[in-house]
Symmetry: C2
Subunit: 149 residues, 2 copies
DNA sequence: TACAAATAATTAGTGTGACAAATATATGAA
DNA sequence: TTCATATATTTGTCACACTAATTATTTGTA
């Protein structure tokens, strides 16, 4: 394996990740989902794990704080999420889905699961396991923390 | 394989790609390379394949035209690249590395190859082949064109 | 208690990515 | 030749990623 090969794999990885995101975003747009792929990730996690602070959410979705602040700003403006002052800690907020946010998640969830499926055609269980293992190895090589299942 | 799994893999892919880019960018910054990861990709390809138009280059690095225009703007400002009017076609430019651009590529190339290696520790030849195959399958599933080696 | 250090969130600045629309020029068919 | 169509590049707008710095508040330690 030459060093040049490593650079090529980095390129392939980047290109594929962009394609997956772009494809999903196009479908979101076509279906008038009124959220971006990243905004969806935030809504979905709030829905699954309940109210939490921005720091907790940032760790969950692996976005940095400034990025998350802006995503929350956008979701607040759309009134899918609201910032509720934390009762004990005046520095922080609890993020809650609004009723409208809950409905949005319910409505979009099945559609998005279907969109996500497309990328994985022509691959089997073994491929998925391999892929996950390799991605996690790379992530750890660069100092990332992998969560247990 | 449940639909939820597909969403998780999409997330892992995105997260890993961002990590790889972020790691490289940090190293670039630490070494005062004076270019970003994406700017480097452009310089490297111009160095390897010689002068070409922006359209050709955009196809080579899989960036869209507006994005490439802006990257070239930055590289021009830094005087690593210059736009030379195409002799026959006044709509287009030939992109040339400047002398300073050539030196930059020569100086950075070995350092960057080394940085890229880090992500791939603890993986073997078979893993790389698998990984490439899976990435390309995904890319094709979403309508992308894969190049022959 | 007092005050330095840590933490939560935001702001600012730059770069990249996607998409749509605009501009300038070239090409091909009637 | 002319005019519609195609091509090369740019501009504009919004969203996201990362860094650094800032603000407000809390915590830990002397």
């Amino acid at each position: 394996m030459t060093q040049e090969q490593f650079a090529k794999y980095s390129f392939l990885l980047d290109r594929t990740a962009r394609k997956v995101k772009q494809y999903a975003q196009q479908q979101f747009k076509q279906g008038d989902f009124d959220v971006t792929v990243d905004q969806w990730l935030v809504l979905k996690n709030l829905s699954e794990f309940g109210p939490m602070s921005q720091t907790e959410l940032a760790n969950l979705v692996f976005k940095d704080h400034p990025t998350l602040t802006r995503i929350i700003d956008l979701l607040s403006k759309k009134e899918y999420v609201k910032r509720v002052p934390h009762p004990q800690d005046r520095r922080s907020f609890q993020l809650h889905l609004t009723d409208s946010g809950v409905s949005k998640v319910t409505a979009l969830r099945p559609k998005i699961l279907q969109i996500r499926e497309k990328a994985w055609e022509n691959l089997n269980e073994e491929d998925f396991e391999e892929f996950k293992r390799i991605l996690n190895t790379i992530y750890q090589n660069l100092g990332g923390q992998v969560m247990e299942e």
